[in-house]
Symmetry: C2
Subunit: 120 residues, 2 copies
């Protein structure tokens, strides 16, 4: 995940696009496999690592960790560790993270109508 090669054409293409187009920029950030689903769960409140895991059937702990780290890095979620044993860690959307709500809504709307169209 964080092993992106900064000399690759792919990397510079992404940079260039992100630079010009805010929508490509956004898509690079939230485009991961599980990113949006995690956010949409968090829209309804903070969740612990284990809770998220249960809500995302099929995700591996590694993947969940990676995605959460990436989201945190992009300031979309915040992470709170409670010094307990066994550990407790809570994830919560930040303000800009919460602002994804309208993006998610639009995607849902579009996705739903696209599904319907294709299904016919």
């Amino acid at each position: 995940m964080s092993e992106i090669k900064q000399t690759s054409t792919n990397y510079s293409n992404k940079l260039a696009l992100s630079d010009e187009c805010s929508e490509a920029y956004a898509s690079n950030i939230i485009g991961g496999q599980w990113t949006l689903v995690i956010c949409s769960w968090l829209l309804s409140g903070k969740l612990r690592f284990g809770e998220l895991k249960k809500k995302l059937p099929g995700i591996t702990e590694r993947m969940l960790t990676l995605q959460l780290r990436k989201l945190e890095e992009h300031k979309i979620i915040s992470r709170t560790v409670y010094a307990e044993v066994p550990p407790r860690v809570e994830y919560e959307l930040t303000e800009i993270g919460y602002a994804l709500k309208s993006v998610i809504t639009e995607l849902e709307v579009w996705g739903t109508s696209h599904k319907k169209l294709i299904g016919e």
Copy 2:
């Protein structure tokens, strides 16, 4: 591109998510590297292959072809071939393709404010 392994865990995860969440479904469709940018160019009118190529600095012809094929497959764009020499092919958004406008707009809005936030 179309060499997706239907036995992979990744494939079934994507299917499952797409099934449950329209936003993940949508993201799978428009989440490619160049997809949104192509669509956003097409929002302002039909374009030829070569014109798109010029507007997307860095894209290879193969990538452009692949993305256009994928978009066509998903009924987001339509392709019109004119029987001329040299050939002329025009790409245009379909109705559902045009409906991506609000998604793109929201992404732009979010992307812009995220950029601003991070830049501080």
